[in-house]
């Protein structure tokens, strides 16, 4: 068991490095967003996206993620995945495939930049026991089961990094749902799937409560 983990580690590191490079590319592209696009993105975000994702990206419904302060590269990557129909979990299919057709390639970066620039929602306290258990999992992982610490990629404060999304302040029900769809391979995320394939429902709830509280 230990040997398999050791063999996988360099692979994961390579994948993470590739992802970071990709993220750098997206960030560079976002920096080139035109002012007119930025204005249009802010207007559409307020008039259309806010219907589900809330004013300035702070959603009130656990069905829809909070986007305020989300990593710019992650947002752009997701919008491209919706447009290309490569992210195909049920909610992506039901809601975002259609919405993303309204977003031009040029506007993807403007939207990503807009939401990344918004003030993130403060954390929401949860069940202290769950938060404590989730915090341990987030910071240390479960080495004996090959579950690496979430903080390795998502940052020590769950702030995210590049294409690794910010989880801090995200609604716990949404986080649990994403863990479920990734585990069931309804949402394609090879890195995450490898890490969480044996995560139990209780562990999902705990780690989600922890990141929501951050």
């Amino acid at each position: 068991m230990h040997r398999i983990d050791a063999r996988n580690r360099p692979l994961r590191a390579a994948a993470a490095a590739a992802a970071l490079l990709l993220a750098a590319g997206f960030t560079a592209a976002a920096d080139e967003a035109k002012p007119a696009d930025a204005e249009a993105a802010a207007k559409l975000a307020a008039e259309v996206c806010s219907g589900c994702h809330g004013p300035a990206g702070i959603s009130k419904s656990p069905l829809f993620p909070r986007l305020a302060g989300q990593q710019e590269a992650y947002l752009a990557a997701q919008l491209h995945a919706f447009k290309g129909k490569t992210r195909s979990d049920p909610e992506a299919h039901n809601y975002m495939w259609g919405m993303a057709t309204l977003v031009s390639d040029e506007m993807v970066d403007a939207f990503a930049h807009y939401y990344a620039s918004q003030q993130p929602a403060p954390g929401t306290a949860g069940d202290p026991k769950q938060v404590e258990q989730g915090g341990k999992l987030f910071e240390q992982g479960i080495p004996e089961r090959g579950i690496v610490a979430c903080a390795n990629c998502h940052g020590s404060n769950a702030e995210g990094r590049g294409i690794f999304p910010r989880l801090a302040g995200q609604q716990s029900a949404y986080v649990v749902r994403q863990l479920q769809v990734i585990q069931k391979q309804l949402r394609s995320s090879p890195i995450m799937h490898g890490i969480i394939k044996d995560l139990t429902p209780e562990e999902m709830t705990a780690v989600a409560a922890y990141v929501q509280s951050k």
């Binding site: 259309v48 219907g51 809601y95 259609g98």
Partner: protein, 461 residues
């Protein structure tokens, strides 16, 4: 042997419709326009989610223009009436206990420009009963129609400035409303054709549907406060198209005098996966006793309603509740003196009281698991003043004690295998019908004799 034949027919109809739907390979109009799944806007058609409400309030304009702005739906099913013969052994509801294609609708509309959109429905009813009371025929007519021009003012800097505002031209009071506690899109969303129904209902609950034209203005502030004011008049002149195909025999339809006010206010709040609405609305109409004699004095109907809706929409559990209380005051300023003098106006009402009251209560709760398996329980109650002139004795549809009071319940099971198909089993039970539990019509019929079982297949494409 006959029963086996029916079962076979049912299977064939069901399979045929499923096959047809599968071959259609398309999605309804708004889903095509927005690219969204049906469940983004609907808990189950036509009940709207918060997202669906915003789509409607924004004038159906979200998304991309469609080259072919049409969608369609069809319904087929079985109806069973507990006792389907009157005291003279005449059939009450024709074509029960066997599969019948009941109706099909075509929808035209969606986005016209970024600020103009609409919904227009045309329905072909295949179960219009002929005068012989046994055979049926098909008839097409305009159904619910709602045309809008809208604007939106949202600040990108602060939450304080968020206004949706617009105007609507429609042909049914409350068809423009976005909460399903109002009559036009209220529960039951679909029901059996031609079955016995209680004699009394408020004017706002469908009596004016596709007979009138309304001009309204509304605003929705910070997704919190909805206000609307509309004026309704008979759909004649250039607005006749809003009742096209609707028959107009004397006395069968209402005709309004002038412009009649409708007002609506609703408080809306959304948090977590929850949304809550507390509201009120009112309609006051002046109606000619006989629609073919639009020179007589008029009767006045004043409806005031309180309504509420709660929805919890998450995955996999969704549950919703609606409540509605409508108080109607009927002032027979024209019909009562005419009746009293012995010469009623045309075929209009012949009330024995100068004024009557009616109180209608509806409560409904729905649960859906994975938006696929649903169950609904609803209770309804109508109470009001006894009036022998309005509610006289008569087989099946009459009242032996002149009372409009009816109470009952609806139980419904839903199965939505794919988003364009819904299979529904609905049971409507009465514990009081037109005033009494037993022998309510004076001809020996009991309230429970009108209990109805309805199996319905609904397909949209």
């Amino acid at each position: 042997m006959r029963r086996i034949g029916w079962i076979k027919s049912t299977l064939l109809v069901s399979a045929g419709m499923l096959l047809f739907c599968g071959q259609a390979g398309a999605v309804p109009l708004f889903a095509r326009q927005t690219g969204e799944a049906c469940e983004a806007c609907h808990v189950s058609f036509p009940e709207l989610t918060p997202f669906g409400r915003l789509f409607k309030l924004n004038g159906y304009t979200t998304g991309q223009n469609q080259w072919i702005p049409f969608a369609a739906m069809a319904q087929a099913g079985f109806t069973w009436v507990n006792k389907n013969h009157d005291d003279q052994d005449n059939l009450i509801t024709p074509k029960t206990g066997r599969p019948e294609f009941s109706a099909t609708s075509v929808f035209l509309g969606g986005k016209v420009t970024d600020n103009i959109g609409g919904l227009a429905q045309w329905t072909y009813n295949n179960l219009v009963v002929n005068p012989d009371g046994v055979s049926t025929t098909g008839h097409g007519s305009v159904d619910n129609t709602d045309l809008r021009a809208v604007g939106r003012h949202v600040s990108t800097q602060t939450m304080d400035e968020d206004w949706i505002y617009g105007v609507s031209v429609n042909n049914n009071p409350t068809v423009q409303d976005v909460w399903n506690s109002t009559p036009a899109w209220g529960f039951p969303f679909t029901g059996p054709s031609n079955v016995p129904a209680p004699a009394a209902s408020a004017v706002v609950s469908g009596a004016l549907a596709q007979k009138v034209v309304g001009f309204g203005a509304y605003s929705f502030w910070r997704k919190s406060l909805y206000t609307e004011f509309s004026l309704y008049r008979t759909a004649d002149g250039m607005f006749t198209f809003l009742r096209a195909g609707q028959s107009q025999p004397p006395g069968s339809v209402p005709a309004l005098q002038g412009y009649n006010p409708y007002a609506r206010i609703a408080y809306n709040r959304e948090w977590g996966g929850n949304s809550l609405m507390l509201g009120a609305y009112g309609l006051m109409v002046r109606m000619y006793p006989d629609n073919t004699m639009q020179f007589t004095p008029t009767d006045r109907y004043t409806d005031l309603a309180l309504d509420a809706q709660f929805q919890h929409i998450t995955n996999p559990h969704t549950y919703t509740f609606q409540a509605s209380l409508i108080r109607e005051r009927q002032s027979y300023g024209a019909s009562y003196p005419a009746t009293l003098s012995g010469s009623p106006i045309g075929v209009g009402p012949t009330p024995a009281n100068a004024a009557d009251r009616l109180l209608t209560l509806k409560l409904k709760g729905t649960y859906y698991y994975q938006r696929k398996y649903g169950a609904t329980v609803a209770l309804f109650s109508t109470t009001g003043d006894a009036d022998p002139g309005l509610y006289g004795p008569g087989s099946v549809s009459g009242s032996n004690n002149s009372s409009p009071n009816s109470h009952g319940y609806i139980l419904e099971l839903n199965y939505v295998p794919i988003q364009y198909v819904r299979l529904m089993l609905q049971y409507t039970g009465y514990d009081k019908f037109n005033g009494m539990r037993t022998n309510y019509d004076g001809a020996g019929r009991d309230a429970t004799n009108n209990n109805t079982l309805f199996l319905n297949l609904w397909v949209a494409y």
